[in-house]
């Protein structure tokens, strides 16, 4: 199963050497501290151990705070939507929004105080996401870059 999603055409795309992680980051940053980004990872099957995942996040991330966990559906498949906040080692609060389905996890991360400015964009990108039997890739958005 492959996957496809549209991302803003002026964001930078980086592919990890493993081929299992694709990162899409905003160019530059208003604050200079953190670049809002998406990360699409392929990591086997989506975990069904939500409680275990939450415990792992709680141990991995400083001041981890889960805001929401709810079912997520894509192309007839069932997955999970997670919204959470944590604090980086540099004491920067980040909001992490994550959609997990099949072998894929799409994670959007932004400085918490800028979340409201990006929440619609995150939703727009997720709404372009599809799982396809053939072909793959990340398309550039033909529309606006926001």
């Amino acid at each position: 199963m492959d996957t496809r999603l549209l991302v803003p055409d002026d964001w930078e795309v980086f592919e990890h050497a493993s081929g299992r992680i694709l990162a899409i980051a905003e160019r530059g940053s208003n604050s200079g501290l953190f670049r809002t980004n998406f990360a699409l990872t392929v990591d086997g099957a989506t975990s069904s151990d939500v409680v275990g995942d939450e415990q792992r996040f709680d141990e991995e991330f400083r001041a981890y705070q889960v805001i929401d966990l709810e079912p997520f559906e894509l192309d007839g498949g069932h997955g999970l939507h997670r919204l959470a906040q944590y604090v980086t080692a540099d004491a920067l609060p980040l909001t992490m929004e994550q959609w997990c389905i099949g072998p894929y996890t799409l994670t959007a991360t932004v400085e918490t105080l800028r979340y409201d400015d990006y929440a619609d964009l995150f939703e727009q990108v997720v709404n372009t996401w599809s799982l396809e039997p053939t072909g793959s890739g990340t398309d550039r958005n033909e529309g606006d870059g926001d």
């Binding site: 889960v66 919204l83 929004e97 105080l113």
Partner: protein, 217 residues
């Protein structure tokens, strides 16, 4: 004056004591029970750009938490026990997390469904947040709610408030319509969006003259 400085420089006091300290510009220099937290707290409060008050009520109790928001740091006075407040100097960008904590914005499974935009009396929060326990309890009973809250923010040009409730079907926020008020169910995502704007957009709006407000002025 009963200022308690606990292990880890945790400072607790009553609100009246805090007001006295804040009104005394000499306190920071002369305090015999000086604590770094308290010194920092006073420094933030004296240069704040907006003051917020979060009232959170349940049927049998009500708490009022106070915040003085400056550009990069914020002082929170969190009511912890029987009108005693804990002094918490923190980073302004951590304010949404503190608010989410106090409002219990975490995953929960709705146990019932309420129609969208349920009409409610304009003074519903006055009843739900009443100091009088009988009046408050009756309001919680009447509306079948678990919790109610109001966040009021006061700035140099005006004040604004937002409010909401937590009930069997999750969170809802109070919204003003053309003719009436309603409780509009909101997802945790929507509520988190709102909370993340408190130290930024909401506070910035307090420095501008009032025009119209979706909730209240």
């Amino acid at each position: 004056m009963a200022i308690r400085i606990l292990d880890g420089d945790v400072v607790r006091m009553r609100l009246a004591e805090w007001d006295t300290l804040l009104a005394d510009p000499e306190y920071t220099a002369s305090a015999p029970d000086k604590s770094q937290s308290l010194t920092k707290a006073l420094e933030i409060a004296r240069r704040h750009s907006a003051k917020i008050i979060l009232e959170v009520a349940e049927r049998d109790r009500i708490s009022r938490h106070h915040g003085w928001i400056a550009a990069s740091d914020t002082l929170l006075l969190m009511e912890v026990d029987d009108c005693e407040y804990q002094v918490i100097p923190t980073s302004t960008d951590l304010v949404p997390a503190a608010l989410a904590d106090l409002l219990e914005v975490y995953p929960r499974k709705p146990s019932s469904t309420r129609p969208n935009g349920e009409s409610v009396p304009a003074d519903i929060l006055e009843d739900l947040l009443a100091q009088n326990a009988t009046r408050r309890g009756a309001a919680f009973e009447r509306h079948r709610l678990d919790r109610a809250w109001r966040l009021s923010a006061h700035g140099p040009m005006r004040a604004r408030a937002i409010g909401g409730v937590l009930g069997p079907n999750g969170h809802a926020m109070l919204a003003a319509g053309d003719q009436s008020w309603s409780l509009v169910p909101v997802s945790n995502r929507q509520l988190w969006r709102t909370l993340t704007t408190v130290p930024t957009k909401l506070v910035a709006s307090l420095s501008r003259p009032a025009v119209t407000s979706p909730v209240s002025e």
